[in-house]
Symmetry: C2
Subunit: 230 residues, 2 copies
Amino acid sequence: MAEDTRTRILNAAGPVFAEKGYQNTTVREICRVANVNLASMNYHFGHKERLYIETVKQAQRNKIEQVPQPQWQTGTSPAEKLRGFVRTLITRMMGTGEAPWQTRLMMREIMQPTQACQELVQNYFRPQFEILLGILEELLPAATTQPKRHQLAFSVVGQCLYYRVAHEVVALLIDKEEREAHYDAQQLGDHVTDLMLAALSSPDSWLTSSRHSSSGLESSTERRIENTSS
Amino acid sequence: MAEDTRTRILNAAGPVFAEKGYQNTTVREICRVANVNLASMNYHFGHKERLYIETVKQAQRNKIEQVPQPQWQTGTSPAEKLRGFVRTLITRMMGTGEAPWQTRLMMREIMQPTQACQELVQNYFRPQFEILLGILEELLPAATTQPKRHQLAFSVVGQCLYYRVAHEVVALLIDKEEREAHYDAQQLGDHVTDLMLAALSSPDSWLTSSRHSSSGLESSTERRIENTSS
DNA sequence: AATTGTTTAAAACGCGCGTTTTAATCGCAG
DNA sequence: CTGCGATTAAAACGCGCGTTTTAAACAATT
């Protein structure tokens, strides 16, 4: 049947594209992995580029059906929701090669977007972003401005993405013993959650005041070395 | 003179490698940009790979001499030091194509390290990491464990790196008006700093207690949807 | 002047890749 | 049976790239 080999190609292409990127991936390798003839791939997709785009779409479809809007039981505290959100996100990020290829493929699109990225944002990133904003809304003073909410959401996401982006560098900075003891998704997720909750529940008015904060020192506009490179 | 064309090649190679990555860069293009003959590049570097490695080393040397260990005046508050550190870091990250090629090249090495990465960590990332840890040490209770200190440092760095890694996605999520009003290095740096300071000065014992925190709710071990992908 | 290291111009080699083609087979609907 | 879409095998085209080569100039040193 038609769909059979088509999806076989797509499922083979996913992990390969995810691991090696678009340029470093050869159509021949995908066909070899898929046990499919070279001409057959051309029959279904024509270009390598179309195959790639379809692969990204497939990844996004996979993830969306795997991740229904999380429906917490009524009464779940926002802090608990945040913990769940962060843990899920960081779980997806962790793991070197074992991470699901969909996530790795999406990370590539984040870092250097192609044609496929806009759709990815619309169908996947933005909904996730909105969920996070919804959780934060419950935790934040009503007076919190929208830009501040957005930046806080990015603070959450940024901390989580870091453990994928800089996974190899972390492995070079932190010795194996400490990594194995403290760098699983659970502990890292709890760390990010605790940090955010501590910051949000701070007695200071740093969230709503337009500038300046905390213990009453800080001079924010002094010039310093300013190395804007050569 | 010998050095002249050699450095001309290196200076031409830097931006090109930074923008397009190793594979997508052609030796011919570098030579064209450098106004240098193809054979001349072979004369000095032999392989494309050696040229790349030398380029990364050059970037690292540039950055190191541009960024002397920041010596704050005695009496500078740790909060102020943190603000300066974060602002410098985030300034390097911001900007799409205008960012210095050294930073962009290093980001590529972070995301998918090559041979050149280990040296980069030793000579550049680790020193920076140590500086940040030194600043945090002044802000943290003495009882804070080392793993916690490390994770806090990564929380700082992660939030900053995000604005480079996900720059394009942020541009798709946040409309132009808000971006232009709130997404400069200064404001984002202050946000990250304020968030960290608020979290660190939280009255809760989340930093030192082994698990659980804040307002006395949280159940951290419940199972949820758990989508570990297909 | 002769030597040696540097640079250029131009061409070619060799290979791998994306893409196309051809010819042949299989299954199935009309 | 006939045709048609799907699939395969194998080969080839065409191109771009990394690399090498050749031959000739140029510069500085000896």
